[in-house]
Amino acid sequence: MKALKLCGIALSSGLLVGVVAGSYMGTWIDGILIWREMSAGTGYAELSNLQYDQADTEHARQALLGFTKFSQSMSKLHSAQRDKALLVDTGRAYLRLAAIEERAGNSSLSRQYVLNAQQSFKSMGREIPEEELNKQVTKIVSTAPPKSPPS
């Protein structure tokens, strides 16, 4: 009877220690989730930037709009709450979209994208005046990727 009691104590104390240690280790998955969140955000941003640089206007617009929509959905992820890089990438995507619309003569839509960019930078704690962002858009428009003919 005494031996059985000791067995129970040994097993249950092991279980207790194990559960505490295991629960702590289980929270390490947070690091993996953050890594995946950063990978998804960076991967999408890089590919949409590549499309902006290399593709025709329609595909560039589609890629950048896709990224802004993707980043909005991503912001609902718990791991994205502290990801300032995602907000920077989103702000930059809006500025590129503003440049595309500026070139296409859609001034009101271009301004809307500038305001969206401003909002995105504001979310990460940076208040940038609209005039400053307009200057950035003008700079992007003037450094537009050369339109090489397809070979």
Binding site: G14, A21, S23, Y44, M74
Partner: protein, 196 residues
Amino acid sequence: MSSDVVKSAAARTKGSVDQFGGERVLKRAAFFGLLFLVGAGIGSYAGWELGSLFESTREFQAFRTAEEKAFLRTYESMASLWIVNMRSATILQDPKYGSEGRREDLNLVLDAAQKGRTQATDPAVLTLIDVETGITYARLGMVEEAAGNLPASQTWMQKAQTALKQAGWKNYSEPHLREIVQARNLQDSCDCPGKK
């Protein structure tokens, strides 16, 4: 004389009792230690499951509708694609890897792209997967060229040009693709996402 014999026999008996008693205690201690370890193992597994379930629930709790679940599939695809892309760029920059290793790794990118294509429904995402696929084809072409397999290199380069043309690229000439691939190998060869 006889009293010495009795004393000696008594001492031997006591020693062997002590020895057997010590062994018994050791065996018991080992048995309880084993039970403790079994408990700790089961507890660690259960705790790990609970901890990771808590973290995963907290991460994805806002995604419930079919549209939100579709986003999560795209999200997973983009994350996997970026991770394998970074790995292959790193391997391409590392001279210790030969053609075989590079080829195998680039095929992993193609597998990830294929998997992503089956999971994504958004045309914008599908186009981006085509871009990644096109760049991987161009990388394979350059690997084959370096290995001296010119016909295979040509085939991969043509596939790259077709994929990138469909993705809306204005310049999909071979020299331009080489430049882009070299720039991306340099840019993406890193062990941390978010490097600019």
